[in-house]
Structure formats: structure tokens, C-alpha cells
């Protein structure tokens, strides 16, 4: 092999490897840079009013997003009620009861549902809840987000149930317990940390969803009473405020963005910590 060729190969090697390093560092720098910007800008825009005040009428400065914070909490609560039980039981079905056909069908459909764009889910909730009720409501928003939670709830429940060691089940069954009792008292508690982690990550994912809320929960500049009224949420407020022409609203959009990001990041880190101490760590 000629020396020139070897030199060329070494040159290509050095150049390409450095390029990949540049890609990694570039991506990390750009992404962390913009998030750092959000962090600094958001923390500077944050005030106590943001958490305690209603939005001020257009044109007046000040005010906060207290109603949107409560609204987001309401809708996420609704989403958990709609999505988690169905998803959890679906996951139990897949892991413990389904035959080959049932597994294939349920998996296929949940994968399909997982890939449906969030805006399409919004249209669905609009047609299903808003149109018959002739009203935007927290219910509709909750149904939309709950629907989005189902596929991941199914998947994570199934995975963690499957990760429970066979020996545990067999020991319980050998004691003469019926299958459901084994599930309720042995298998599900063993997988509990994992399942809760899955739910937290799932919730973090839908907490930032905006598109499906635009025409289900809509928005509201005042407190919404109960669940049957148009309801403000943080993500929708960020959207409305960011595209508005007012500087003060831009400032509040940054503050809201910061709060939402902190919420999502905290949930993610909490979930990871919970997983780290779980004996089923290797499951995911």
C-alpha cells in the first residue's frame, strides 16, 4: 500500500471523525443555547403576578396567567382520568391475557394511535364532544389529551408487567391464589415504580400539547367554572401571546414558556429518578 494512499486514508479518517464531533457539539450547543436563552429570558419575565393574577384586558400591561395554570391542571387531570385507566387495563390485557391475535390487533391499533398527529386528535375531540355539546370545554380538552395518553400508557404498562420475574408469579400461583389476585397483589405492585414512571413521562408529554386544545378547550381570559366552559391553558396562552403584537404579552409568553418547560423537565427528571431506584431498571 503506497504511502500516499495511507496518508489519504488517515486524512479522511481524521476529517470525518472530527466532523461527527462537530455535529454532536454543534447540536448540543444550539439546542442548549436556545433553551438557555429561554431560561434567562423567562426567569427575568417572571413575577408573582404571573401566578396570582388574571390576564389584563388588551392594551393594559401587567396581569398574569393564574387561570391558565389552574386550567392546565384541570385538563391534565381530566386527561389522566380518561387515558390512564383505559391504557393501564389495555396494557394488563396485552401482558397477561391476550392471545396472539389480540396482541397483534391491540398493538397495531395503539401504534397507529400513537402516530396520529395531535391536531387530528383535536379534530376528533371536537367532533365527538364539542359539536354535540355546542360548547368548548375542559371535558373536550381532557378527552383529546387523554386519547393521546392511551398508547404510551398501554405500552409502558405492558413492558413493566412483562419485566416482573416469572418466579414471583409462580410463587403466588403456587400458593393457590387466583390469577387476578396474583396480578393485583403481586405483579402490579412489583411493577408499580415503572408504571408510575410511565404515567409521569406520559403526562409530561401531553402537558405541553397545544394543537389539540385550540378548538376543544379553546381559551378564556377569565376563570372558568367547573369543567363545562372554555378553559385557558398554559400552552395555548403561550401561542396566543407569542403571535400577538404586544411587547408585554411577549414578555408573559416567555414567562409562561419558562414555567411550562420547568414543569416538563421536572417531571422528566423525577420519572428518571424513580426509575433509577426501581429494581426493574433494565426494563426500558
Amino acid at each position: 500500500m503506497s504511502a500516499a494512499r495511507l496518508r489519504r486514508r488517515k486524512l479522511v479518517n481524521a476529517v470525518m471523525l472530527r466532523t461527527t464531533g462537530a455535529c454532536a457539539i454543534g447540536i448540543a450547543a444550539v439546542l442548549l443555547g436556545i433553551l438557555g436563552y429561554l431560561f434567562l429570558n423567562g426567569i427575568g419575565s417572571l413575577s408573582l403576578d404571573f401566578f396570582t393574577q388574571l390576564p389584563k384586558p388588551v392594551g393594559e400591561t401587567g396581569g398574569g396567567m393564574a387561570n391558565a395554570i389552574v386550567g392546565s391542571a384541570k385538563i391534565l387531570g381530566m386527561a389522566v382520568v380518561v387515558g390512564v385507566p383505559l391504557g393501564f387495563l389495555g396494557g394488563v390485557y396485552l401482558a397477561e391475557y391476550a392471545g396472539a391475535t389480540g396482541q397483534f390487533v391491540v398493538r397495531y391499533v395503539t401504534d397507529l394511535l400513537n402516530g396520529v398527529p395531535s391536531i387530528v386528535i383535536g379534530i376528533f375531540a371536537y367532533a365527538l364532544v364539542v359539536l354535540p355539546a355546542k360548547q368548548f370545554s375542559a371535558y373536550a380538552g381532557g378527552v383529546a389529551l387523554g386519547m393521546m395518553m392511551i398508547p404510551i400508557a398501554v405500552r409502558s404498562t405492558e413492558e413493566f408487567l412483562r419485566a416482573v420475574p416469572r418466579g414471583l408469579r409462580e410463587a403466588a400461583l403456587a400458593l393457590g391464589a387466583p390469577k387476578w389476585k396474583v396480578l393485583v397483589t403481586v405483579v402490579v405492585p412489583a411493577a408499580r415504580d415503572g408504571i408510575i414512571t410511565g404515567i409521569i413521562l406520559n403526562l409530561a408529554r401531553v402537558a405541553g400539547e397545544t394543537a389539540p386544545l385550540l378548538f376543544t378547550a379553546f381559551s378564556n381570559r377569565f376563570w372558568s367554572e367547573g369543567l363545562n366552559e372554555p378553559t385557558a391553558t398554559l400552552p395555548v396562552m403561550i401561542y396566543t401571546y407569542a403571535i400577538s403584537p404586544y411587547d408585554d404579552w411577549h414578555r408573559q409568553a416567555w414567562a409562561a414558556g419558562f414555567v411550562l418547560l420547568m414543569l416538563v423537565v421536572t417531571m422528566n427528571i423525577a420519572a428518571r429518578m424513580l426509575m433509577a431506584r426501581s429494581p426493574l431498571r433494565g426494563a426500558r
Binding site: 479518517n13 454532536a24 395503539t110 398527529p117 376528533f124 367532533a127 397545544t210 400552552p235 418547560l261 416538563v264
Partner: protein
């Protein structure tokens, strides 16, 4: 469960059913099966609602709904072509940027970086994947749009303005900006999936190539990447499905103009963005149903793309380079 009583053989099946009912197993099975059926029904309902609610537009325009070039709600004319183009072009730009950069970064993380650095960076990148799209939109509006206008659009037009795709006036909000923002959004996704795929390539493969005298890069390019090829394609397809359906970030930076324009520097529109912008303001059954038909188009598109991605990923997993 207590030992069964003195059951005569001919009554065995009924008793056993009753016993199982009392034991609760049949009830448990019924509950979870009902939940699974509920999920299937919910999904069926989704397709049904989309199909029925878009009926008026489908009957009025048929297939020309997709190919029609005019979107004029006042005149009752609804053609989705500009939006289909917008969605396709922004997603294509996103993949053109994100796939090479993302795979490059994944190679660095999986092949070169020390394991602890790699794990830490991967953790950061996965956190970035969890950032809500409206926050990317916020950053897009206030950072990316001005940056694109000054640093990218201007020089591009000066250098390549003779190409139709870089011609005409520019305002910062454009198809190109939306594509770049989408690229940023799908990058974390591509990096983390590709990294996992690369890490699952057996070490022997690398050692064999290195032992034959290949350089580090030659090993990666000729041995590791081909081995992980399908998993990486799968990650690109999943990213594509995400980009196609992405709504908020695109809506906020694409400029929202239903005119079909050749220039990437001009404002455009995407399917999801139209639905997000016009749905609550739509008046008249035909208008609403046209918007829902757009949702149906988007649904169809993502189902196909997701299906392809699953096939690719699944065919890789069978070769023991599982993605997840």
C-alpha cells in the same frame, strides 16, 4: 382457592365456570378485555368521525380536493395542494438537515465519545426531545426568524438568487424557516434512536474491521453503518412522521400564506397549520368539513409513513439490532 367440592363429573364444566366467576378470574378477564376493546373502539371512532365529518368536502370536490390549487373560503373553493406542498417541503428540508447532522452526532456519541460523556449528552438530548412544540415555536418566533432573515435568507438570495427557490423578497417567516425549526425539533429524536441502534451493533464487527487494518472511520462507514442501516432509516421515518404532523411550531414561523410560491424564502402554509389557524373561525359546513378533510389527509399520510417506519424497524430488530 379452596379445593373443589364433591362435583360429579357431568357437572364439571358449569361448576368450574361458576367457581372461576366466584374466584374473580373471569371478571378480571372481562374487565381488561373490555378496556382493550374500548381502545379499539376509540380508535375506530376517530377514523369514523374524520370520515363522516369530512363528507361534505369529499362529495363536493372528490380527489380534486387534494390537487386543487386555490384555497378561498369566501368563494367556497377548497384546494389543498398548496398545503400538501408546504407540509412535504418543510418536512423534506427538516430531514435533509437533521438526518446527516443527527447521524453524525450519533456516530460521535456511540463510537468515539467516552461512555460517560456519551450517556450524559444523550440524556440532555433526550430531555430536549421532551420540550413541547409550542416552546420551539416561541423560540422560533423570537430567535430563529430574525436570525434567518439576517444571517441566512439574505446571503442565500445574494449567492443563489438566480434559482427560483431562493428568489423574491424575504421576511424571515418562510417555508425554509419552518423547515429549519422542524429540523431542530426532530434532531434529538434522530440522535437518540440512531445512537441506540449504533450501540447495539456487536463489538466483534468493529474489531474484525479494525484488525484488517481499516481506520476508525472506514470501520464506521463500511461496517457499522451498513449493519445499523435499517434502524437508522426507521428513525428517519419516525422523524418524518413527526415532522408531517407538527403543528404549533410550524404555524408560528411559516408565514401562513395559502399562495403557492416557488421560493423557499417566501411565506408558505402547511396542512396542520391551516387547521390550527382556521378551524375556530371557519363558518359554514363546507368550510369546516374541508378543514376536517385536511385532517383526514394528514392522518392518511402519517399512517402510511408510520407503517413504513415500523416495518423497517421491525425488520432490523429481527437481526438483533433492536431499536427499542
Amino acid at each position: 382457592m379452596r379445593v373443589a367440592g364433591s362435583t360429579s363429573p357431568e357437572h364439571a364444566p358449569t361448576t368450574s365456570l361458576r367457581r372461576r366467576l366466584l374466584g374473580g378470574d373471569e371478571i378480571a378477564r372481562f374487565i381488561v378485555t373490555a378496556a382493550a376493546a374500548g381502545i379499539l373502539i376509540a380508535c375506530g371512532l376517530l377514523v369514523y368521525e374524520l370520515w363522516v365529518s369530512s363528507g361534505a368536502a369529499r362529495h363536493e370536490f372528490g380527489w380534486s380536493f387534494i390537487t386543487g390549487r386555490t384555497w378561498d373560503p369566501n368563494a367556497g373553493e377548497f384546494g389543498a395542494w398548496p398545503f400538501v406542498v408546504g407540509t412535504t417541503v418543510t418536512s423534506a428540508i427538516a430531514l435533509l438537515i437533521a438526518v446527516p447532522a443527527g447521524v453524525g452526532a450519533a456516530i460521535f456519541l456511540a463510537e468515539l465519545a467516552p461512555r460517560r460523556v456519551s450517556d450524559f449528552l444523550a440524556f440532555c438530548i433526550e430531555l430536549l426531545a421532551a420540550v413541547p412544540s409550542v416552546i420551539y415555536g416561541l423560540l422560533g418566533v423570537f430567535i430563529l426568524v430574525p436570525v434567518m432573515k439576517v444571517l441566512v435568507d439574505g446571503p442565500l438570495k445574494a449567492a443563489l438568487g438566480w434559482l427560483p427557490i431562493f428568489s423574491g423578497p424575504f421576511y424571515g417567516v418562510s417555508t425554509l424557516t419552518a423547515g429549519v425549526l422542524l429540523a431542530l425539533m426532530v434532531l434529538p429524536f434522530i440522535v437518540s434512536v440512531s445512537r441506540q441502534v449504533l450501540l447495539s451493533v456487536p463489538t466483534e464487527q468493529r474489531e474484525a474491521a479494525l484488525a484488517l487494518g481499516a481506520t476508525r472511520w472506514e470501520t464506521t462507514w463500511n461496517v457499522v453503518l451498513p449493519y445499523a442501516k435499517r434502524g437508522i432509516y426507521g428513525s428517519a421515518f419516525l422523524a418524518l412522521a413527526r415532522a408531517l404532523g407538527e403543528t404549533m411550531a410550524v404555524t408560528m414561523v411559516i408565514g401562513n400564506s395559502p399562495q403557492l410560491q416557488a421560493s423557499l424564502l417566501a411565506p408558505g402554509y402547511s396542512i396542520a397549520a391551516v387547521v390550527a389557524n382556521e378551524f375556530t373561525e371557519a363558518t359554514g359546513d363546507l368550510y369546516v368539513s374541508a378543514l376536517i378533510a385536511l385532517g383526514l389527509v394528514l392522518f392518511g399520510l402519517t399512517v402510511v409513513i408510520n407503517g413504513l417506519a415500523r416495518l423497517l424497524v421491525a425488520s432490523t430488530s429481527t437481526r438483533a439490532t433492536a431499536v427499542q
